[in-house]
């Protein structure tokens, strides 16, 4: 007979095990219960409960915080799929509140205004898993070192422009490939250059992949964008403003879900992309002022 003391919960394998379940799927930003139901119907594997999608946060300015508790509860009650929510970088009290709400995943996110410019949350102290953004391998491994169970690219949230997600995904994949061909004696130097924990650098060098799933986010606006990120090695896709800022959210959601799974069936993606209505209006990241970029938040 099993005694309750044999029961294990909140351990790394239970957190990353849950992240494994999301692979091949699409996680959609939603701001209302109705949007959450549309996302679930369209085949989302999870929703991210927010007060405003990144494009609106960008437009409105001001301080962006954790979503209203009533809103999160309303979204949790509306769907059966997992509900994620964002906490500000370093704001462990927001994360503690989200854990108390039994949110399924916490995104320590650069989309919100950072609460700590020096430190990210110590994620080992939580039973709920965390996802964190990164721009390169060093940043990914720092977050994993702090206990993140899932990594995503930052991209440039709310821009509707895929260029930054591609840059970040290529940076991570390229650096992983590089590690696999380095000699054992070169790894400490590499860890120093990456600013990453040595043991994690060794692990990645040996396995040729991150020790947690690797998803993409930031700027996904079309089915072809989702296919691009999957072909570049992302195991699942987050879509923020791209769905509910498009002309026909329901169709866009379904099309992006199909394109994420069948990312290498180009005839299907062509068919999915026909008559979708207009995608969200995008921003040119190249002409964006540094201070307007969300991806530079965190380190």
């Amino acid at each position: 007979m099993t005694s309750p003391s044999d029961r294990e919960s909140g351990t790394p394998r239970i957190k990353t095990g849950f992240a494994e379940m999301l692979k091949g799927g699409v996680i959609m930003d939603v701001t209302t219960a109705d949007q959450a139901r549309i996302a679930e119907q369209a085949g989302a594997v999870a929703v991210m409960a927010l007060e405003r999608v990144p494009a609106d946060i960008r437009r409105d300015g001001g301080v962006a915080r954790m979503a209203d508790v009533a809103k999160i509860r309303e979204i949790q009650a509306a769907v059966n799929i997992p509900v994620m929510a964002k906490a500000r970088i370093g704001h462990f009290a927001e994360a503690q509140v989200l854990e108390a709400l039994e949110v399924d995943f916490i995104d320590e996110s650069e989309v919100l205004t950072p609460a700590d410019e020096m430190h990210h949350i110590d994620k080992w102290g939580f039973k709920v898993p965390f996802v964190c953004g990164c721009r390169d391998l060093g940043e990914a491994l720092r977050r994993i070192g702090e206990g993140a169970a899932l990594i995503r690219t930052k991209g440039e949230a709310g821009s509707g422009n895929i260029v930054e997600a591609v840059r970040h995904l290529r940076a991570v994949q390229g650096a992983i490939k590089r590690l696999t061909v380095l000699g054992e004696e070169e790894l400490m130097r590499e860890a120093k250059d990456l600013g990453a924990p040595y043991e994690l650098v060794r692990l990645v060098a040996r396995k040729g992949r991150l020790p947690v799933p690797n998803f993409a986010a930031g700027g996904v606006a079309t089915p072809a964008d989702a296919s691009l990120l999957r072909q570049l090695g992302a195991e699942a896709v987050f879509v923020g403003s791209g769905i509910f800022k498009s002309a026909e959210p329901e169709r866009m959601a379904r099309a992006i879900v199909e394109a994420t799974t069948h990312f290498d069936d180009f005839a299907l993606i062509a068919e999915l992309s026909a008559n979708l209505g207009s995608a969200m209006r995008g921003l040119d990241v190249a002409t964006m002022a540094e201070a307007e970029k969300l991806q530079t938040r965190g380190w």
């Binding site: 007979m1 099993t2 044999d6 029961r7 294990e8 919960s9 909140g10 351990t11 394998r13 239970i14 095990g17 849950f18 494994e20 379940m21 999301l22 692979k23 091949g24 799927g25 679930e40 119907q41 369209a42 085949g43 989302a44 594997v45 999870a46 059966n80 799929i81 997992p82 854990e99 039994e102 949110v103 399924d104 995943f105 039973k127 709920v128 898993p129 195991e235 379904r254 879900v257 199909e258 799974t261 069948h262």
Partner: protein, 209 residues
Amino acid sequence: MREDGDRKTPKARSGLRIGVLTLQGDYAAHARALARLGVEAVGVRRPADLEGLHGLILPGGESSALLRLMQRWSFLEALRSFSAGGGALFGTCAGLILLAREVRGIEQPCLGLLDVAVERNSYGRQRESFAVPLAVPVLGAAPFDAVFIRAPRVVALGPGAAALASYGESPVLVRNGRVLGASFHPELTEDARLLAYFLDRIVSRGAPA
């Protein structure tokens, strides 16, 4: 009595063609688990991919997302024919939900190949996900390291299904002839005994020559 399916030589498995439904979920973890037993997984994304397979694994994931992706390609009908034609099926977590006869508390289609009724997320949200050493008599005396993630609960067992393991009051491993379902995730652990049981005691027995 030989209790441990894992003792069988890999040679007996080398001719098996095993698919993993690769639409959404932890299909990669299942492919890695099969590889550890010397079996190369066939990724199944279209009903045509089922051709020539002896067995198919339905992974964990989100059952509503899986259904959405399956319905577009008439996968429910294809899997019922696959089963009727002698193909063996093993569903873990969301896979168990898909195989069930009935999903309670929510309007959701299912395959009806495993004579059980299930309830989604019945053990709680992710914070409540857990692992326990589980007694599984068909795998021998050593407990099985069972990982439950937002797991479905088997709330009723029909006459066609047998419980091979239970946790608390609820069956968590059930078999219905050539169909096996688990509330937990054997693919997330190093213990290969349950997958070996599926391959050696279900797929290999009565698999089309």
